[in-house]
């Protein structure tokens, strides 16, 4: 069975419990395959937790959930060393971060100190307590949710930390038809309990390795660079996409290509993912907000005007 078919199975599995959100499931898998993390920005109650749990179950992963509150401390996330009087030593009690798939709920509700402890762990895939570095088990995938930033009582994530998320996804409300179906299912037993894993963790790790072999042609790389540079030159943009953003777009595109059963990236992959990769990396000027322009619209505009490479690069 090839990569595409296996990943399709995972998505089908998720679709058993999440209705009409196939693209969200795909994007989550893309992030997971490229060692990235996802920031879900949406109101409560649209199925975020369900999505992550279904994903965890489908790959047979260890699932943890951290509910961020204003009084949560870093040690509540990464764990703490506790003195054991019996052997007169400190023993590390791992926090909820030490899992495969973590749902970090309402991340912008907690203090910047706790936020940064999570984000550092995400970046390094390890935690350091009292001078001891502990590896977080692989695969490691964080899906953080945040309430839209305009809400009261939030600590907005700083730009540098937003950059750590590979993709930012909005889940959105289901269509009326889909919502009917949701109701139908809710009447019967919660289907999430019946999900079984369709691929193993080892297989997932293999797939992660496979993503790295997906070819990104010179033309595609230059296209990605073009797109990133355009964001830095836009008059509405205060801070454009960083080189890390370009890397993120490339890696995500590789994973997406694998998901689509190709061993090379096409401009379509890049275009599709650019919205999710760039959305949270573009900081807008206040003029943009007055004009009602969002980062997603800027991305769309840049995609429309940047020339898609259709020929081999020769000479230049």
């Amino acid at each position: 069975m090839n990569a595409k078919e296996r990943l399709e199975q995972v998505i089908d599995n998720i679709e058993k419990v999440i209705i009409g959100k196939r693209n969200i499931a795909e994007l989550s898998i893309v992030a997971m395959l490229s060692h990235g993390h996802v920031l879900l920005e949406d109101v409560p109650g649209v199925g975020k937790t369900m999505l992550v749990r279904a994903l965890a179950k489908s790959v047979g992963a260890d699932f943890k959930r951290i509910q961020f509150t204003p009084d949560l401390l870093p040690s509540d996330v990464i764990g703490v060393s506790i003195y054991n009087p019996k052997d007169m030593e400190f023993h590390f009690r791992p926090g909820p971060i030490m899992g495969n798939i973590i749902l970090a709920d309402e991340i912008n509700r907690t203090s910047p100190k706790t936020q940064s402890s999570l984000l550092e762990a995400m970046e390094e895939a390890s935690v350091t307590i009292d001078g001891v570095t502990m590896q977080i088990p692989k695969p490691f995938f964080v899906m953080a949710t945040q309430n839209p930033i305009e809400y009261e009582g939030t600590y907005p994530l700083p730009e540098a930390q937003l950059d750590r998320f590979l993709l930012k996804i909005k889940m959105g409300y289901p269509t009326p038809k889909e919502e009917m179906e949701v109701l139908n299912r809710a009447q019967s037993a919660a289907p999430i309990e019946e999900l079984t894993s369709v691929i193993s963790l080892n297989e997932l790790l293999e797939l992660q390795e496979q993503v790295k072999t997906i070819k990104v042609d010179e033309t595609i790389r230059s296209y990605i660079v073009d797109l990133s540079r355009q964001t830095r030159q836009d008059s509405y943009v205060y801070l454009g996409v960083s080189p890390r953003g370009s890397i993120a777009l490339m890696k995500a595109s590789q994973a997406y290509a694998l998901l689509k059963g190709r061993n090379y990236v096409t401009p379509d992959d890049v275009q599709y993912l650019a919205k999710f990769v760039f959305g949270h990396r573009i900081m807008l000027r206040s003029e943009a907000r007055y004009d009602g322009i969002t980062a997603e619209e800027i991305t769309e505009r840049i995609l429309a005007k940047t020339r898609v490479p259709v020929q081999r690069l020769v000479g230049q």
Partner: protein
């Protein structure tokens, strides 16, 4: 991105080659325009290229070049080595003069300094352009081609001889093109090599160029397939008629007539203007040895005779009367000799050269201070000779037998001369009694025996054929050379001394002032005729060519027998052509006016034809371009059918298809991916083929897996789509 462009040594080699190439442009310009200071111009080119090579910023290189130009002007026009006060004031005044002239659109008032500046600007642009081609485009072909065309055109139409230049250009150009191709190839494949490896790549290139050049130089070369393009082009312009062939544009005289025959095309280039009371035949020289293929000259007959200005010359044709006519000839071409009418008494020229008369061919060569001299305007005092009819009536075969040995060379005939020529001559003259009557009979023979005047489709005799025999018995059509040679040969077979004369006929009357007519004589008027010796009378001119009226004047009054029934009407021309239109051709005289005059003449004479022609061509071209969507697919389909099945072909074909679709009106937005464009195309045409092709194309280009594409299989889809675009 690292690239071969960063390899300084490689680029330096390219720039040196470029410099050599630009020098090839400069050389003919300097030579033809007689500009001095070639080294300083070359230095400018070298400096410009060096700065381009070092990537000097414009604010650095620009002022340096401008300073150099100013220094050049100062140095060349004032002789100052530095910007002294005098030099600066010279620059200032010159600038203001030119500025005023330009502002008032008085182009003629601009000074030489201004032209120098323009020339430098041109050089500057050329340097920039070629720098761009080499450094950015890594391509030289266009420039190379232009250089070859440039030199070829100059070689053809101007005195500049590009024999060596074209070889140098081929070598330099091939090396440049080869190295640049190597550079493009390496960049295309993203290969980075060190200099040693590059040199190894270049070795076969140098070898191939060297071997092919050496082979090309030392192998025997075929002669030109086409006639000289100048008359060829003129003939296309409808100015046809006869004309000079060959050797246009080469200074010097000495075209040999040893191989006559072949067709001729007209050449309207003006040779000279003659102001004279009556049109004359203008003699240049004669030839005496008939070789069965053409004419040659006996060497070392007699010592040359030198005459001075106004000194009475002896041409063998004495003026009829004491009172002389005057002819003024204004030469348009450079001949190192004078043309003279029959009965010439003396020459006069401002420059007062020596006139060296050669009795062997009756040619007057002009020398000044021992150097060949090409006259421009000269006067000739002459009076047409007149012959006594009575004396002519008394010419007899017995007199011929008594002629001295000096006449033997005018009786020469090759042993191979077919017997039937002699028989024909005897037959023609069977009824004639006197030498004069015989000669007239031969002269008249052609016009009464169905011969035809023509310049086209005239054969050159084969190795075993006789030129005269071929004309008399096989073709029976030809131009002056055929008629005159045949007459000379037949006369000689009758033991009448005769020689073959070259020159120009009277030309076209273009104006009259009082008694003086002005004739324009062009290369088309080059002509050949006959002189025969009448015993007791002397040499006489005869004109056997149909349609021409050259004649010796006969004094009928002198001792004329009243009851003599014979009216020796000199010309009987049943097939009379207008001599102006039936212009004759002769390969005798060759020398061209300058390139500029030639082009200017051509343009002024054909202005409307050129304008309409250009207009027509450009309209046709733009119509073709406009409707290229309609016809391109057919060409493309057959081209790609022939061109085999490589994946490179597939990619080219796909990109072609994109262009065609764009022409068809389905435009791809810049940000639109091929896939979504293909989906749209397929939905538009109701096909699936574009998506299929696009997937293959993406696999080849983005996936780097060109080998997986089976172009032969996809070609049908491609053809189907591209044919739709022509609908």
């Amino acid at each position: 991105m690292t690239s071969i462009r960063k390899n300084k040594l490689f680029m330096a080699v390219l720039y040196v080659l470029v410099f050599l190439m630009l020098a090839e442009w400069l050389t003919p310009v300097i030579v033809l325009t007689e500009t001095g200071h070639k080294a300083l111009f070359l230095f400018f080119i070298a400096a410009g290229l060096l700065m381009a090579f070092l990537r000097a910023p414009w604010w650095f290189s620009g002022p340096i070049k401008i300073l150099y130009i100013l220094w050049f002007i100062v140095y060349v026009y004032t002789g100052n080595l530095f910007f002294t006060g005098e030099a600066i004031s010279f620059l200032r005044t010159d600038f203001s003069v030119n500025f005023t002239a330009l502002m008032s659109q008085n182009w003629a008032q601009t000074t030489d300094v201004f032209r120098t500046v323009l020339f430098f600007t041109l050089l500057w642009m050329a340097i920039y352009l070629i720098h761009y081609w080499v450094s950015f485009r890594l391509s030289i072909f266009l420039f190379y081609l232009l250089t070859v065309i440039f030199i070829a055109v100059l070689d053809t139409f101007s005195p500049y001889s590009g024999d060596a230049a074209i070889v140098r250009i081929m070598v330099i150009g091939l090396l440049l093109a080869g190295l640049l191709h190597l550079a493009r190839w390496m960049e295309g494949h993203r290969i980075l090599e060190r200099t040693e490896k590059l040199a190894a790549f270049a070795v076969p290139l140098v070898l191939v160029v060297a071997v092919s050049t050496a082979l090309a130089l030392y192998l025997p070369k075929a002669g030109p397939i086409w006639p000289d393009p100048v008359p060829f082009i003129t003939s296309f312009s409808g100015q046809g008629g006869a004309g000079m062939g060959g050797n246009v544009g080469r200074i010097g005289y000495g075209v040999d007539d040893s191989r006559l025959g072949g067709s001729f095309i007209g050449d309207d280039t003006v040779a000279f203007h003659a102001e004279v009371s009556e049109g004359q035949y203008w003699k240049v020289e004669s030839k005496d040895v008939y070789t069965t293929k053409g004419w040659e000259l006996t060497e070392n007959v007699d010592e040359s005779i030198f005459y001075g200005n106004d000194e009475t010359v002896d041409t063998g044709f004495d003026p009829a009367e004491e009172e002389l006519d005057l002819a003024i000839l204004s030469m348009e071409q450079d001949f190192p000799f004078v043309l003279y009418p029959y009965g010439t008494a003396s020459f006069f020229m401002e420059e007062s050269p020596d006139y060296q008369y050669s009795p062997a061919d009756q040619r007057f060569e002009t020398y000044q201070n021992g150097q060949e001299f090409e006259p421009e305007v000269y006067e000739i005092a002459f009076n047409e000779p007149s012959y006594s009819l009575t004396a002519l009536r008394e010419t007899s075969d017995e007199d011929l037998a008594e002629l001295s040995g000096d006449f033997d060379r005018f009786l020469q005939l090759p042993n191979e001369l077919p017997e039937r020529v002699r028989n024909l001559a005897a037959e023609i003259t069977a009824g004639a009694e006197t030498v004069y009557d015989k000669t007239r009979a031969v002269e008249r023979y052609f016009s009464i025996s169905g011969f035809e005047y023509s310049q086209s489709d005239i054969p050159v005799p084969e190795a075993d054929q006789d030129y005269v025999d071929q004309f008399l018995f096989e073709t029976k059509r030809g131009y002056c050379d055929n008629f005159s040679s045949s007459m000379v040969v037949m006369l000689r077979s009758l033991d009448i001394p005769a020689r073959w004369v070259k020159g120009f006929n009277e030309g076209e009357l273009i104006g009259t002032t009082g008694e003086i007519d002005t004739y324009q004589v062009t290369n088309n008027n080059a002509h050949s005729w006959v002189e025969a010796y009448m015993p007791g009378v002397g040499w006489m001119l005869f004109e056997p060519t149909i349609g021409f009226t050259g004649a010796a004047s006969i004094d009928f009054d002198l001792e004329l027998d009243a009851e003599d029934p014979v009216q020796p009407e000199p010309e009987e021309l049943p097939l009379e052509d207008n001599p102006q239109t039936a212009e004759e051709e002769e390969t005798a005289v060759a020398a061209g006016p300058s390139f500029g005059e030639r082009v200017a003449d051509f343009i002024s004479e054909n202005r409307w034809k050129l304008i309409w022609g250009l207009l027509g061509v450009s309209v046709a071209a733009s119509v073709l371009f406009k409707i290229r969507r309609k016809w391109m697919p057919k060409l493309l389909v057959s081209y790609y059918r022939k061109s085999g099945g490589g994946s490179g072909q597939f990619e080219k074909a796909y990109l072609r298809l994109l262009k065609q679709l764009d022409l068809y009106g389905i435009h791809r937005r810049p940000g639109q991916t091929l896939k979504s464009y293909a989906a749209y195309i397929d939905s538009f045409f109701g096909t699936r083929e574009m998506t299929e092709l696009t997937e293959a194309y993406e696999r080849a280009v983005y996936g780097g897996n060109a080998e997986s594409v089976d172009w032969l299989k996809l070609r049908e889809s491609w053809e189907n789509l591209i044919n739709r675009t022509s609908g």
